[in-house]
C-alpha cells in the first residue's frame, strides 16, 4: 500500500500557499467592489414571485418598484406620509370621490420589444388584480375605463379615501405589460416578462439579485449604474457585512440601532423609514379571570411601558398610544390611561381580586421575551402572578383563531404586533365585530366602532378622518383590553455619501438612491 506523502514541509508550504491565495483573491475582490457606481445592498431572501398578483411581498415589491410602472408613490410630508404622481404619469387626480383620472407619460417602452406603456396595460393589470391573491386591495375598484391610448379613469364602486395610498402606491399597484404577461402564460414567477423602469432584473437563487441600467428607459435616470443585492437572511449577518464594507445599506435590529446611535462608526448614517408597526398586550375580555373590566384596567395601569421601551428596545422605538402609527391621520399623542400601580391596586381591590395568576403568551423573540419579563415584574408588583409562555410563530399566529382549535378559549394575555400600511383604515379593520375569533382576539364588539370604521373608509376630509380614528382608539382604550406598547421603526444604516429612499413600511426604492 502506498504511504502517505504529506510531510511537515509540504504541509506548511500548502497551507501558506492557500492562505496567500485567499489573501490575494480577497484583496482583489475588495478592490473590484469599489469600482464603478455600484450600490451593494442586502436581500433578506430570494424573490420567489415577482408577479404582483401572486407575490409573497416584501422585497418583491422593491423589485417591482424598480422594473414596473406605478401611477403613484409615497412622499414624506414633514412627519406625515402622503402621495404624489410618479414619473410614469403626467396627470393623476380625483375627478370626484369615485373617479380617478390618469394620463401616462408618452414614449415609455417595455423591454423585449413589447412597445410603449399604454392605458390598456393599466386596465389589464388592475382587472387581473381583482382576480388575484391580492384582490382585497382592489375591492373598492369597480373598473378601469380606457379613454385613450395614454388616458383612463379608475372608477371606484364607492368612495374609498385610502385607495391611492394603500393600493396604487403599494406593490399591488404595479402595472404589468398585457401582451408580455399573456405570452408568459398569464402568470410569472422569478423573471419579469417585460420591464418598464430604470433597471432590468436578474437573479441567482440563494445568492443575489442584480438590477442593471435598462438601456431602453427614457425616464429619470437612477443614481447608480448597478444595484447588487446579496441574499443575507439574518439581520445580524447583514450588520456584519455592512461593517465589513460589503453592503452600503442595511436594515438594523433594535440592539444594533442602539449601538449605532450611541457610537456611530465613521461615514455612517442612520435613516428611519417609518414606524408602521404597532405592538400591544392584549387581554381576552371573555376569559373568566379577565371578564371584570376593573381587572383589565388594573393591568393597564400596572404596566410601565417606558421601562419596556428602555429595557427591551434600548429606547429605539416610540411609545404607542393606539393602533394608528406615527405619521398617519388619527395618530394620538397619549392614551386615556397611564402607569399608576397604586390605581391598579385600588382597582383590583374594588374587583375583589387578591390573588390572580395569568399566562402571558409571546413569540419567542429576544425583545418580546424581555418585554414579557418586564410586564411580569410590573404585574407582580401589584399582586398579579404572570407565567410567560414563549411560542414559535406557527402556534402563536393561530392561537386566537376559532377555526384553529380551542386555544382561543384559554387565551389570557398576549403580546402582539401588527404591521400596517400608511393609512389608518387598515389597522382598524382587524377589530370590528366580524373579526372576533379571527384577528380580534380580545373578543369585544362595539356598534359605534363598526359604524366609524365604515365612515372612515368613505370620509375624504383629513380632519374628519382624524376625529373618527381618534374616537375608535378611545373605544379600544375603554374596553380595558389593550396596553399599548410601542411602534417599532424600520431603520436603515448606510454610508453618509449615499442618500436612501425608503417607503414608510420599509421597502427600499433603489432607483431614488443617490450619491451625495
Amino acid at each position: 500500500m502506498k504511504q502517505m506523502k504529506t510531510t511537515r514541509r509540504t504541509f506548511l508550504a500548502t497551507s501558506a500557499a492557500t492562505g496567500a491565495t485567499g489573501f490575494v483573491l480577497g484583496s482583489a475582490n475588495m478592490l473590484r467592489a469599489q469600482e464603478g457606481k455600484v450600490l451593494n445592498l442586502r436581500l433578506d431572501g430570494d424573490n420567489q414571485i415577482l408577479d404582483p398578483g401572486y407575490m409573497v411581498g416584501g422585497t418583491e415589491v422593491e423589485a417591482q418598484k424598480q422594473c414596473l410602472p406605478f401611477l403613484a408613490e409615497y412622499v414624506r410630508d414633514g412627519d406625515a406620509f402622503s402621495w404624489q404622481p410618479t414619473s410614469y404619469v403626467t396627470r393623476l387626480e380625483y375627478a370626484d370621490e369615485t373617479h380617478i383620472e390618469f394620463e401616462l407619460a408618452p414614449g415609455l417602452m417595455w423591454s423585449n420589444g413589447y412597445g410603449t406603456l399604454k392605458a390598456s396595460d393599466v386596465a389589464y393589470s388592475y382587472d387581473r388584480m381583482k382576480e388575484s391573491e391580492w384582490s382585497g386591495y382592489f375591492d373598492a375598484l369597480d373598473r378601469v375605463e380606457v379613454t385613450g391610448e395614454l388616458t383612463g379613469t379608475l372608477v371606484l364602486s364607492s368612495p374609498f379615501a385610502p385607495f391611492i395610498m394603500v393600493t396604487l402606491c403599494h406593490g399591488p399597484g404595479a402595472i404589468v405589460c398585457e401582451q408580455a404577461v399573456k405570452d408568459a402564460g398569464g402568470r410569472f414567477t422569478t423573471e419579469f416578462p417585460a420591464v418598464c423602469g430604470p433597471y432590468t432584473y436578474s437573479a441567482t437563487p440563494g445568492q443575489r439579485a442584480v438590477f442593471d441600467r435598462n438601456p431602453e428607459w427614457t425616464g429619470p435616470a437612477p443614481g447608480f449604474e448597478r444595484v447588487v443585492l446579496q441574499v443575507i437572511t439574518e439581520v445580524q449577518a447583514a450588520e456584519l457585512a455592512f461593517e465589513a464594507g460589503e453592503v452600503d445599506c442595511t436594515e438594523l435590529g433594535p440592539d444594533a440601532l442602539a449601538r449605532y446611535t450611541q457610537n456611530p462608526p465613521e461615514n455612517t448614517a442612520v435613516t428611519t423609514a417609518g414606524e408602521l408597526q404597532y405592538m400591544w398586550m392584549g387581554m381576552n375580555t371573555e376569559h373568566p379571570k379577565l371578564q371584570d373590566i376593573r381587572v383589565r384596567q388594573a393591568i393597564q395601569h400596572a404596566v410601565d411601558v417606558d421601562s419596556i421601551i428602555a429595557g427591551a428596545y434600548a429606547n429605539t422605538s416610540s411609545k404607542s398610544n393606539g393602533i394608528i402609527c406615527p405619521g398617519l391621520i388619527g395618530h394620538r399623542s397619549e392614551a386615556s390611561y397611564s402607569y399608576n400601580p397604586e390605581r391598579a391596586r385600588e382597582l383590583l381591590a374594588e374587583a375583589g381580586v387578591d390573588s390572580l395568576q395569568v399566562t402571558l403568551r409571546t413569540q419567542n423573540w429576544q425583545e418580546r421575551l424581555l418585554a414579557a419579563q418586564i410586564i411580569q415584574a410590573n404585574l407582580g408588583a401589584v399582586g398579579i402572578e404572570v407565567q410567560i409562555l414563549p411560542l414559535e410563530s406557527g402556534p402563536f399566529w393561530e392561537m386566537g383563531m376559532e377555526e384553529a382549535g380551542d386555544t382561543w378559549q384559554e387565551l389570557e394575555l398576549w403580546l402582539m404586533r401588527f404591521a400596517t400600511v400608511p393609512d389608518p383604515y387598515e389597522a382598524t379593520q382587524w377589530f370590528v365585530s366580524e373579526q372576533v375569533g379571527i384577528w380580534n382576539w380580545e373578543r369585544w364588539t362595539d356598534e359605534e366602532f363598526d359604524r366609524l370604521y365604515q365612515e372612515g373608509l368613505t370620509e375624504t376630509d383629513p380632519d374628519a378622518r382624524a376625529g373618527i380614528y381618534a374616537r375608535m382608539q378611545q373605544i379600544m382604550d375603554d374596553t380595558g383590553a389593550y396596553v399599548w406598547i410601542n411602534h417599532e421603526p424600520e431603520v436603515y444604516v448606510h454610508r453618509t455619501n449615499i442618500a436612501i429612499d425608503a417607503a414608510p413600511s420599509g421597502e427600499l426604492n433603489y432607483r431614488n438612491f443617490t450619491q451625495v
Binding site: T21, G22, V56, T189, G206, Q230, I232, A237, A244, E246
Partner: protein, 313 residues
C-alpha cells in the same frame, strides 16, 4: 465484497425510507397552519385553500408519503410552492456550494489535524504535545457559529483580508475560492482539534504494540515506524470522519447563515421556517442520502486499508 455492498445498499434504502416516514410524521406534528405561515397572516381563505390543495395538505399523511416516494423514484421531488420551480433544480443550484464548504472544511481539518495528532503522539508529554492538547480542547469547545463571527470580525472587518459574505461572483472561481476560506475555516476548526485528539490517542495505543517495538528493534527509521502505525491508527478516525461529514451538514447551516452563503443546510432551515414542505422533503432526502453515502464510503475505505475487515465481509 459485492454481497457486502448489496447488503449495505439495501440497508441504506431502508434507512432512507425510515427517515422519510419520520420526516412526514414530524411535519404534521409541527404546530401552526403551514398555509398561514407561508402566505402571511392576512391571507384570504381562498388563497389558503388553494395553497393547501397545491401542497396536497388536504390528503392523508400516508397518501402524501406514497406520492412523494413514487415521484422521488422517478427523479421528481415536486415543485417549490412559492416559485413553482422543480425542487431538483432548487437543490441543484445549492448542492455544489454545500459540498464545496463541507469538503474544504473537513479537508483542511484532516490536513492539519492528523499531522498534529501524529506529532503529539510521537513526542508524548513534549511541549508540542501539550500545545496540541490545549489547542484541541480549545477548538473543540468553541461552537462553530462563534468562530464564524470572530472570523468575520477579525479577517473581514478589522483586517479586511477576506470577504465576509456571499459565495462570490458567479463564474469567477478565484472570487468563489476567496469567499470559501472563512466559512471553511469556521466549520473545520473544531474538527482540527477533534481529529488531532483522536489520532494522538490511537497512535499512542498502536505505538505501544509489540510489532511496533519489533519494527524499531529491526532498525526501521522513526518516520517509517510512524507511517506503519498511522495506517492502523487511522482506521477509527476514518469512521469518525465519515460520520463527521454528516455532522458538517448541520454545522454548515450556521456558516451558511452567518456568511450568507447559499447551501442545502440553509435551504432546509428556511424551508422549515416557511413550511415549504417539498423543499424540506427534498433537502432532507439529499442530506440523508449524502450521509449514508459517506458512511458507506468510509466503511469501504476501512475495508481497503484493513485486510482483516476485508476477510470478514
Amino acid at each position: 465484497m459485492l454481497s457486502y455492498l448489496a447488503k449495505r445498499l439495501t440497508l441504506s434504502l431502508i434507512v432512507v425510507a425510515l427517515v422519510l416516514m419520520l420526516l412526514f410524521s414530524m411535519l404534521h406534528m409541527i404546530p401552526g397552519n403551514p398555509a398561514i405561515l407561508a402566505l402571511g397572516t392576512r391571507a384570504t381563505p381562498e388563497a389558503i385553500a388553494e395553497y393547501s390543495a397545491r401542497m396536497r395538505l388536504d390528503e392523508p399523511v400516508a397518501i402524501q408519503f406514497l406520492i412523494f416516494v413514487g415521484n422521488a423514484f422517478q427523479g421528481d421531488l415536486g415543485t417549490d410552492v412559492f416559485s413553482g420551480r422543480p425542487v431538483t433544480q432548487v437543490i441543484g443550484e445549492r448542492v455544489g456550494f454545500s459540498m464545496a464548504l463541507i469538503f474544504s472544511g473537513m479537508g483542511w481539518a484532516i490536513l492539519l489535524g492528523i499531522p498534529l495528532g501524529c506529532l503529539a503522539a510521537v513526542r508524548p508529554n513534549s511541549w508540542i504535545d501539550r500545545i496540541t492538547g490545549v489547542f484541541s480542547v480549545g477548538t473543540i469547545a468553541i461552537p462553530s457559529f462563534l468562530v464564524s463571527i470572530w472570523a468575520i470580525l477579525i479577517f473581514a472587518i478589522q483586517l479586511g483580508w477576506l470577504p465576509a459574505i456571499g459565495a462570490g461572483e458567479p463564474g469567477d472561481i478565484g472570487d468563489q475560492l476567496s469567499h470559501l476560506i472563512l466559512p471553511a475555516f469556521a466549520i473545520g476548526l473544531g474538527w482540527v482539534g477533534y481529529l488531532a485528539r483522536m489520532v494522538r490517542a490511537s497512535m499512542l495505543e498502536v505505538l505501544s504494540e509489540p510489532y511496533i517495538r519489533s519494527a524499531r528493534a529491526f532498525g526501521l527509521s522513526p518516520r517509517k515506524v510512524t507511517g506503519y502505525a498511522l495506517q492502523v491508527a487511522i482506521l477509527p478516525t476514518i469512521t469518525v470522519i465519515g460520520m463527521g461529514f454528516g455532522g458538517l451538514i448541520s454545522a454548515a447551516v450556521f456558516a451558511e447563515i452567518i456568511f450568507a452563503r447559499p447551501g442545502v443546510g440553509k435551504m432546509i432551515f428556511d424551508a422549515v421556517s416557511d413550511r415549504n414542505f417539498p423543499i424540506l422533503q427534498g433537502g432532507v432526502l439529499l442530506a440523508t442520502g449524502f450521509y449514508i453515502l459517506v458512511v458507506l464510503l468510509s466503511d469501504l475505505l476501512i475495508a481497503w486499508f484493513d485486510p482483516r475487515v476485508r476477510q470478514s465481509l
